[in-house]
């Protein structure tokens, strides 16, 4: 951060005035400097774990929000301390080019501020920019308070051990705001590849004959697996039923137009959160499998006669920093398939 301001026991009005002053001073001293104007992001974190979230934002690549307001919640705190700074992504300005600057505010607040957090955050937002809120350590009260300011809520449905509760909460939030779910974004390459696997016209008809879906996932990524199955159900017009615990994980059925579809979710060990593999089988004996592999996904296709082909679908892992960056980017896009998938996932999770 090139310019920094801080004050103990401060007020939102003073923070906002300081930010305005820093931006103006910076502009006067360095003409090619231009503040980014894309998105406000408000993050509510436990003060003890703020470092972890700050590190995640350091790794989002180019997808930094224009103004990041980090609210660190400290139990028992009554007053507000704040720090504001401004800086550019570029270490060295390039002659003839603009330097894009980003603003960052950190405020230390107490539990008692959460229910009225909107009154503290409101003056700190850049007007006319979309605002996204995220509370990675819970703090549902803060999110509820910020609902009137937020057009987008960032969530990670895999953060909550109780998947049913997690999906129900997101469904409620999506009534009022656009929800960007990191668990959903982790499944994007899988959804793209499954769509591609069935895209050749002669294979599209096979979608009507899908008879079994098996999703392998990291132990804590059940929500991502459910959303993936919810996506298949909603896109293919299946009526899913609740999954039940079985030896390998969870299993159940969805009703397709022609037949029952067996659904299995199998936890497996892997380092990266999210899905580990997907197998889709058809009633006629064909199957498509995708599994994580070096340099992409290992694909296998089994024909009706039992013959099998394997190959690698190229693609680099985005890592967790990349997933958060993608979450920030997705805030300004709209994916019409998430809510229907969420609706079906809720049925599976019951």
């Amino acid at each position: 951060m090139d310019e920094v301001w801080s004050e103990r026991n401060t007020t939102p009005a003073k923070i906002e005035a300081a930010l305005r002053r820093i931006v103006t001073e910076h502009h006067h001293s360095d003409h090619p400097f231009v503040p980014a104007r894309v998105l406000n992001v408000v993050v509510v974190v436990d003060a003890d774990f703020r470092g972890e979230i700050e590190n995640r934002f350091e790794r989002v690549g180019r997808y930094h929000p224009s103004r990041l307001v980090l609210c660190a919640v400290e139990p028992g705190r009554d007053s507000i301390d704040a720090w504001a700074g401004i800086g550019t992504d570029d270490a060295e300005p390039v002659p003839g080019h603009i330097a894009v600057a980003r603003e960052r505010v950190e405020i230390e607040i107490g539990q008692r501020h959460l229910s009225k957090l909107d009154t503290i955050v409101d003056p700190l937002l850049v007007s006319d920019l979309a605002t996204m809120v995220w509370a990675p350590h819970g703090h549902d009260a803060a999110i509820d308070s910020l609902r009137r300011l937020a057009q987008i809520v960032l969530v990670d449905t895999q953060d909550e051990p109780d998947v049913d509760r997690s999906l129900a909460r997101v469904e409620d939030l999506s009534e009022h705001a656009y929800v960007v779910d990191l668990a959903w974004l982790r499944s994007t390459p899988w959804r793209e590849r499954v769509a591609a696997a069935f895209d050749p016209p002669h294979l599209r008809t096979a979608l009507a004959g899908v008879s079994a879906v098996t999703v392998r996932h990291r132990e804590d990524s059940l929500a991502a697996a459910m959303l993936f199955c919810g996506w298949l159900s909603s896109r293919l017009g299946w009526k899913p039923g609740p999954l039940a615990r079985s030896d390998a994980g969870l299993s159940g059925h969805a009703r397709a137009r022609r037949q029952e579809v067996r659904i299995r979710l199998e936890p497996t060990h892997q380092n990266a959160p999210g899905l580990a593999g997907v197998t889709i089988e058809t009633a006629s004996g064909e199957a498509v499998s995708l599994d994580r592999a070096p340099g992409g996904l290992r694909a296998a296709r089994r024909a009706r006669d039992g013959s099998e082909q394997t190959w690698t679908v190229l693609g680099a892992s985005r890592g967790e920093g990349g997933i958060l960056g993608e979450g920030v980017r997705q805030a300004l896009l709209r994916d019409p398939t998430y809510r229907p998938a969420l609706g079906c996932a809720r049925v599976l999770a019951r």
Partner: protein
């Protein structure tokens, strides 16, 4: 619900499936392939955007093994990719590359290519689409096209076959038509994808978004409110090591015939009913056909050609064009071209459109400047005031991509003094994503069969119809070749082109 013709799984996906494809690059060891095509393919692979079944066959005259070609590709990608390659993805991509060293006119050699394509089909258990990318010297375009036909590789009963042809598409109207004749004797128009990489640039596509997604500009976007349009493509660099190509081409063929006329069409076209390829291209062709090709006499009045002499650019002394390595001493090639054109239709009649491009100019900038007419009555003239200037709308393609609008504003103080101020939108501040290279988008579109960002035959024909009379007159020495000092904004002769009361925008 599942439909047999639609894939219900693609809804909502940003990255749509691309059909399984074998891409054949002719001229695979050349400069364009190394600097642009191979890095573009790597970046597509990195993002998981390549077809799930994909093979690359490099074809060049050089005799080398698959492994030598892969090694060259690896080096090129490491050197020129816009992102640091992930070695596992890179190796995965490189492992799908094969190489064939065949002379482009060696028809029996094409049997080897056919065999390699069939081998790829057998490996994948399905016929892959074929995309032939002609990235060779232009004289080989008809040679390769006809050889593909003679070898029976120009069509396939169960797969789509496409030809991607790099610029230049001809060197004048006659050669463009002759090439077109050959291409159309082999491929149908819907199989042909003529590359003008400018159209793959995000900021160029944004010209259409700016015009057709914002209602406020449409009422003034015509002869009633617009005084003039200036389209500039200025470079501060010289010709580098491209003397051979550049001296045969010159600024007019290198930039005006293709890129700059494309920018002009985007500025002047009517809104298409949809952004389907032919709807967009229909509108662009109408603009080109509304530009009357100049007579030889008019060429002297409405064009300026010049070449740079020794000068200073960015504080460094640089040689004149004739001192550049490889440039013939008797060269008459222009490194600067300026044109005044007019689109003769209801919307634009009477509005001069000025194009200028040059090398070794004061700075690098590509922009479209739309200048509105002055206000009809100056109420604010007063001492110490710059005064009310006509509004200018600037669409900057590079660098500092964005849009700015100059407005008159009151200078703070007791008197009513006015000076121009800028209202700016800059891409870098309003979008977080890094734009993909134009070639990434274009290669993907070609494999997908989407021709929206490619030039259609009648567009090329209309472009050359405008440029051809100028080339002929210039070849006869009309107007004479002027000179400008390297590092300056261009030759003084270019000012006369604008007419009284008009000035070139400062670079």
């Amino acid at each position: 619900m599942v439909a047999t013709t639609e894939n219900p799984l693609v809804e909502g996906l940003e990255r749509l499936p691309v059909p399984a494809t074998s891409l054949v690059i002719f001229g695979a060891t050349g400069d364009l392939s190394r600097r642009k095509l191979l890095p573009a393919l790597y970046n597509l692979a990195h993002e998981g955007a390549l077809p799930e079944r994909f093979n690359l066959i490099g074809v060049s005259r050089r005799d080398q093994s698959d492994e030598q070609f892969r090694s060259m590709a690896r080096e090129a990608i490491n050197e020129f990719s816009r992102r640091t390659p992930d070695q596992q993805v890179l190796e995965g991509l490189v492992s799908r590359m094969r190489y064939l060293g065949i002379p482009f006119n060696d028809v029996p050699g094409y049997a080897k290519l056919g065999a390699a394509l069939e081998e790829a089909d057998e490996e994948t258990g399905q016929p892959l689409n074929r995309a032939y990318y002609l990235s060779t010297a232009p004289e080989f375009f008809p040679v390769i096209t006809e050889a593909l036909k003679d070898a029976g590789l120009h069509r396939h009963a169960h797969a789509d076959v496409r030809a991607v042809i790099e610029k230049p598409f001809g060197t004048d109207l006659a050669s463009a038509r002759s090439l077109q004749e050959v291409v159309h004797s082999v491929f149908r128009e819907r199989q042909v994808f003529r590359i003008d990489h400018y159209l793959g640039k995000e900021t160029v596509q944004n010209v259409m978004a700016f015009r057709f997604a914002n209602y406020m500009f449409e009422p003034v976007w015509n002869r009633n409110y617009i005084d003039q349009i200036q389209i500039t493509a200025a470079e501060d660099i010289g010709i580098g090591s491209r003397a051979g190509y550049y001296d045969a081409s010159g600024a007019l063929r290198d930039l005006v015939q293709n890129h700059m006329l494309q920018l002009l069409t985007l500025v002047c076209m009517e809104p298409p009913t949809t952004f389907e390829a032919n709807k967009v291209r229909d509108e662009k062709v109408k603009v080109l056909q509304a530009i009357e090709p100049p007579t030889p006499e008019q060429v002297a009045e409405m064009t300026v050609r010049a070449r740079y002499t020794h000068g200073v650019v960015g504080g460094h002394e640089v040689p004149g064009y004739l001192e550049e390595e490889g440039v013939p001493q008797d060269s008459q090639t222009e490194t600067y071209a300026a044109l005044r054109l007019e689109v003769h239709n209801w919307r634009w009649s009477g509005v001069p459109i000025f194009l200028r491009t040059g090398k070794r100019l004061a700075r690098k900038v590509t922009e479209i400047a739309v200048q509105l007419k002055p206000v009809p009555h100056m109420a604010f003239q007063s001492k110490g005031s710059v005064g009310v200037q006509p509004n200018q709308l600037i669409l900057t393609v590079q660098p500092n991509e964005g849009v700015s609008l100059s407005l008159g504003a009151k200078i703070p103080g007791a008197s009513m003094r006015i000076r121009p101020v800028n209202m700016e939108f800059l891409y870098g501040t309003s979008f977080m994503s890094q734009s993909p290279e134009a070639y990434e988008r274009l290669i993907l579109d070609a494999m997908r069969g989407d021709a929206t960002l490619f030039t259609r035959n009648d567009e090329v024909d209309a472009q050359w119809s405008i440029i051809d009379p100028i080339l002929q007159a210039w070849g006869e020495g009309r107007p004479p070749l002027a000179e400008y000092e390297a590092g300056l904004p261009g030759p003084p002769e270019a000012d006369a082109l604008l007419g009284a009361g008009r000035h070139w925008r400062a670079l």
